[in-house]
């Protein structure tokens, strides 16, 4: 009782059974086989503590969106309880599909070297059918295409040496997507930071944040990668640099999941890890930086809040920056899950639910008719692009595209 709220291991006992979480759970609304966050989380935990045989394999339907945690008025870490239970109690061993979906670094490295072949192959109907039937990756799913050149390769060749001309620095956690699939995002980040007068450092040995490893049952490997990342992050923090990301899920994983799910102490560096939009907004808000935008940028932009962004509470930073662009007609969408939840929506048993969950988001987009849907999460981007045909970009890319680089450099001299 004398302990600080939420610091004890019995966090689930703070649940007062108000059941609000079940209303906010996107899965429960579409999949009757999922017992829901209350049942799977705090209620089930009591039974699992009694006997692990009470673990219910239906917990695999949890998307780890954490919307239950955002909704919970008692601050119960419902999503964490469920994720931990899956890792600790599930008797189902991850298979080939889980291995392939979770090991983003391995796949990305191989795929980028053979990008045209891989991209072409993944689009072939026969390959999709084979993957659907044999390993259980849904055939309807479009795979993000791989870039022919990794961001890190480009950076070393073209940008690294110039960074030392700056006097202030940030460290960039690019994540797998920006590195293997969409280096433009990472290049846009470098462009903005440089314009603001910051040099960009990469981490010595960046590994995938591990979110896909966690959700596919590879706890040990996730912990190993987390340890490497935390070492690099600590080094950056020792140099006095914040560690910025452009993917809400990577930032969320490093800040929250490392500690809550993997049990790793990241308290010394947690506050230094954040999304680039938050860092930039705070600079501007404190009068320490200015963004100058082109006059000719005209776009109708709808912002979709990724679930992990909702959990971080940071969409205000991304949206505020975009609203600073004079030519932007900004529409804030109702915060709903798009349904993909990382690798979740790739699995054939989840695909129909995934699309059903996303219906609200898809409908909003068709009503708003935006030029661009902005969102901070790459898997939301895939889902929305595949399901609506809309053009989706990260807010960083939108800001970079609208930026008057010369004027911004001058304003921040």
């Amino acid at each position: 009782m004398n302990k600080e709220i939420n610091t004890n291991e019995n966090n689930f006992e703070q649940c007062i059974k108000c059941t609000i979480c079940t209303v906010y759970c996107p899965v429960m609304a579409v999949n009757p086989d999922y017992p829901g966050p209350k049942q799977a989380g705090p209620d089930g935990e009591r039974y699992r503590l009694k006997d692990p045989k009470f673990f219910d394999e239906a917990l695999k339907y949890c998307m780890n969106c954490k919307r239950c945690e955002v909704a919970c008025p008692s601050n119960v870490k419902i999503g964490d309880i469920i994720q931990k239970a899956r890792l600790d109690y599930s008797s189902k061993k991850p298979g080939l599909r889980e291995f392939a979906l979770a090991n983003t670094d391995l796949l990305g490295t191989v795929a980028t070297t053979m990008a045209p072949i891989v991209n072409g192959t993944l689009k072939m109907g026969v390959v999709k059918s084979a993957m659907h039937g044999i390993i259980g990756v849904d055939k309807h799913r479009q795979f993000p295409s791989y870039s022919g050149q990794k961001f890190t390769t480009w950076f070393r060749k073209n940008a690294q040496s110039k960074q030392e001309e700056y006097s202030r620095f940030v460290t960039y956690f690019h994540g797998c997507y920006a590195n293997y699939n969409y280096p433009k995002l990472a290049k846009d980040f470098v462009k903005i930071m440089n314009a603001l007068g910051y040099g960009v450092h990469l981490m010595d040995k960046e590994k995938c944040c591990g979110v896909a490893l966690i959700s596919n049952g590879f706890k040990k490997k996730a912990a190993k990668q987390a340890a490497t990342n935390l070492d690099c992050i600590r080094e950056a923090v020792r140099r006095g640099e914040p560690v910025l990301g452009t993917s809400s899920t990577c930032a969320f994983t490093i800040r929250d999941e490392y500690e809550h799910i993997l049990g790793m102490d990241n308290s010394d560096v947690r506050d230094s890890v954040m999304l680039a939009t938050r860092f930039i907004f705070k600079l501007i808000d404190a009068g320490k930086a200015k963004l100058v935008f082109r006059d000719d940028y005209r776009r109708r932009i709808a912002y979709h809040t990724p679930c992990h962004m909702e959990k971080l509470g940071w969409s205000i930073y991304s949206t505020s920056l975009m609203k600073m662009i004079p030519g932007v007609d900004f529409v804030m969408m109702d915060s709903q899950c798009c349904g993909i939840a990382g690798t979740y929506g790739f699995k054939k048993e989840n695909y129909p639910y995934s699309q059903k969950i996303g219906e609200g988001v898809f409908r909003q987009i068709s009503e708003i008719q935006p030029d661009i849907v902005a969102t901070d999460c790459e898997t939301c981007k895939w889902q929305i692009e595949m399901s609506t045909g809309a053009h989706v970009e990260n807010p960083i890319t939108i800001i970079a595209d609208a930026l008057d680089v010369e004027a911004t450099i001058a304003a921040n001299k």
Partner: protein, 541 residues
């Protein structure tokens, strides 16, 4: 004459605790025409208010070899015949730095002498086996303690009695004995629901009323010298420990922590209370303090574990007949033949004892009844499994989605859970989410387990026993009862009194999350459901 025959039994057993239900089972199994009467509900007295500890007997080994020997014998019997009511957890007797480690040697020797396995284990091994144990322990002994669910055990005995032809009348209170001269020939009963008075006749009446047996005996004209001893306990929100944890020292306050189903409980205190208070047990702040202070010494994490409720039971301690002062009080079994003791033929009292020895008590009482009836039938209750605990041929438990409720029900009803019909979606949906009780399970209890109100239902199924203490389940269950009983108004009153009963147990520990929960519950039931119009309803029994 027909009417008299219908109302005539070989044996009437008074008391719906585990001893009464066990005695009714034994009598009916031995072929006696048996009636069991209980003034309220099964387990409404001390049976429903104890630790639920499957004693190995180790606790009594040093001070009371006889009780210890009885315990270990019954312990091994219950593991066989009441499998679904028992959890074989084993127990630790730990020595803390403030205790005398030398006592451990005496303890182990006494256990072995009583036939109780007692292995001295390394403190590090004890921590490995039971991570919640106080890590500063300096000694540990492992004994065959376990957990036993007294509600399930009583229900199973009652079910078996019925299967063997016994009749059961709950909510029927003995208001007087019918006598033929000095001989007891029957009882006059008041229906505590409707108020009507009925008469039932028997050759033998067995008083198994626990501490209330004192009054029952007095009605028959016999005096039993009983000393009510109150024991308070606290229930925690989840299992902190999976093994029983005891202190290795002379028995004292709050030195046993028992895992029981989804919860764990610490107890007990021990204090003499006046006889006229036994129907109004309240847990005092001082008792809560003692339980918390001593409990944390067994398992430090209890300090920040949610306490669900506090309750107190009354032990039926009996003074030896030659010692009316009560100085030499036994916890052993007392079986009184009032014919030889008080000159009242046809009347037997079975009392004293413990939950652990209920079956042996039933055996003694039934032996005496059979002797008086001239029936020479041997007791078999130590060999024949209770309904629900029959051996299953093959492990047919396969994990299915949404099957937690089914697995929980299997734990509660054993093989009888096959009688629960969860075949359609509505029946499979949950009434009680904390304890995973389905609509089908509630309907089974209403149909087959003498369930008339919510408190009966709680004792049969654990509805309302979980973290929310009835917040979500009570109104759903009340709805099902209303449907079964065809009366919504009665159900609303029942609901109000059930919520009052839940609050009574939460009140002594109403802080932190328990207080939040209670406040939220009151918003729902008073604010939303308007149940405050029934707020003067009595606390349910």
């Amino acid at each position: 004459m027909g009417a008299i025959d219908q109302n005539h039994y070989d044996v009437i057993v008074i008391g719906g605790g585990v001893t009464g239900a066990g005695t009714a089972r034994d009598c009916s199994v031995r072929g006696l025409k048996t009636l069991l009467v209980e003034r309220f509900d099964f387990t409404a007295g001390a049976t429903g208010r104890n630790h639920g500890l499957l004693h190995s007997g180790a606790r009594y080994a040093v001070t009371d070899q006889e009780s210890a020997t009885e315990c270990i014998k019954e312990n091994m019997t219950l593991r066989k015949i009441a499998r679904h009511c028992v959890e074989e957890t084993d127990g630790l007797f730990i020595t803390l730095p403030e205790d005398d480690l030398a006592f451990q040697d005496t303890f182990v020797k006494s256990c072995l002498k009583a036939g109780i396995r007692a292995d001295v284990i390394d403190p590090a091994e004890a921590i490995r086996l039971e991570p919640s144990v106080n890590r500063s322990l300096i000694g540990a002994v492992r004994v065959p303690d376990g957990a036993v669910d007294p509600f399930r055990l009583t229900t199973a005995n009652a079910v078996d009695a019925k299967l063997h032809g016994a009749e059961i009348l709950t909510y029927h209170e003995v208001i007087s004995f019918i006598k033929d001269g000095d001989r007891v020939v029957g009882v006059e009963l008041r229906n505590n629901h409707g108020g009507e008075i009925i008469k039932k006749y028997a050759d033998i009446v067995i008083n198994a009323g626990g501490i209330w047996g004192h009054n029952i005996a007095a009605l028959a004209g016999a005096n039993i010298n009983m000393f009510p001893a109150k024991g308070a306990l606290l229930i925690f929100g989840h299992r902190v420990n999976n093994m029983v944890i005891n202190r290795c020292r002379k028995p004292a306050d709050a030195d046993i922590l028992v895992p029981g189903d989804t919860i764990c409980l610490i107890g007990t205190t021990s204090s003499r209370v006046p006889y006229d208070e036994i129907d109004h047990m309240k847990v005092t702040p001082e008792e809560v303090d003692i339980l918390m202070r001593e409990g944390q010494k067994l398992a430090p994490s209890l300090a920040d574990t949610r306490i669900l409720r506090a309750y107190a039971g009354v032990r039926p301690l009996v003074a030896a007949d030659n010692d009316p002062s009560g100085r030499s009080i036994s916890r052993g079994i007392v079986c009184l033949d009032h014919e030889t003791r008080d000159g009242i033929p046809g009347f037997i009292t079975i009392t004293g004892g413990k939950l652990m020895t209920y079956r042996l008590m039933a055996e003694w009482a039934t032996d005496l009844a059979c002797k008086k009836l001239g029936r020479n039938v041997k007791c078999t209750t130590d060999k024949v499994c209770l309904p629900g605990s029959e051996p299953v041929k093959k492990k047919s438990e396969k994990p299915v989605f949404g099957g937690i409720g089914d697995r929980a029900a299997q734990g509660r009803h054993g093989t009888l859970s096959s009688k629960i019909d969860n075949s359609n979606k509505c029946d499979a949906s949950l009434v009680c989410e904390c304890e995973e009780v389905s609509v089908g399970e509630v309907n089974y209890a209403i149909k087959e387990l003498d369930t008339y109100n919510l408190i009966n239902l709680r004792r049969r199924t654990r509805v309302g026993m979980g973290t929310c203490q009835g917040e979500l389940c009570a109104c759903r269950a009340a709805g099902l009862l209303a449907k079964a009983n065809g009366c919504a108004k009665k159900s609303a009153e029942d609901l109000a009194s059930f919520m009052n009963e839940r609050w009574k147990g939460m009140y002594p520990v109403a802080w932190g999350e328990t207080l939040c929960e209670a406040q939220f519950t009151s918003w729902i039931y008073e604010g939303v459901c308007g149940l405050d119009t029934y707020s003067n309803s009595a606390v349910a029994i």
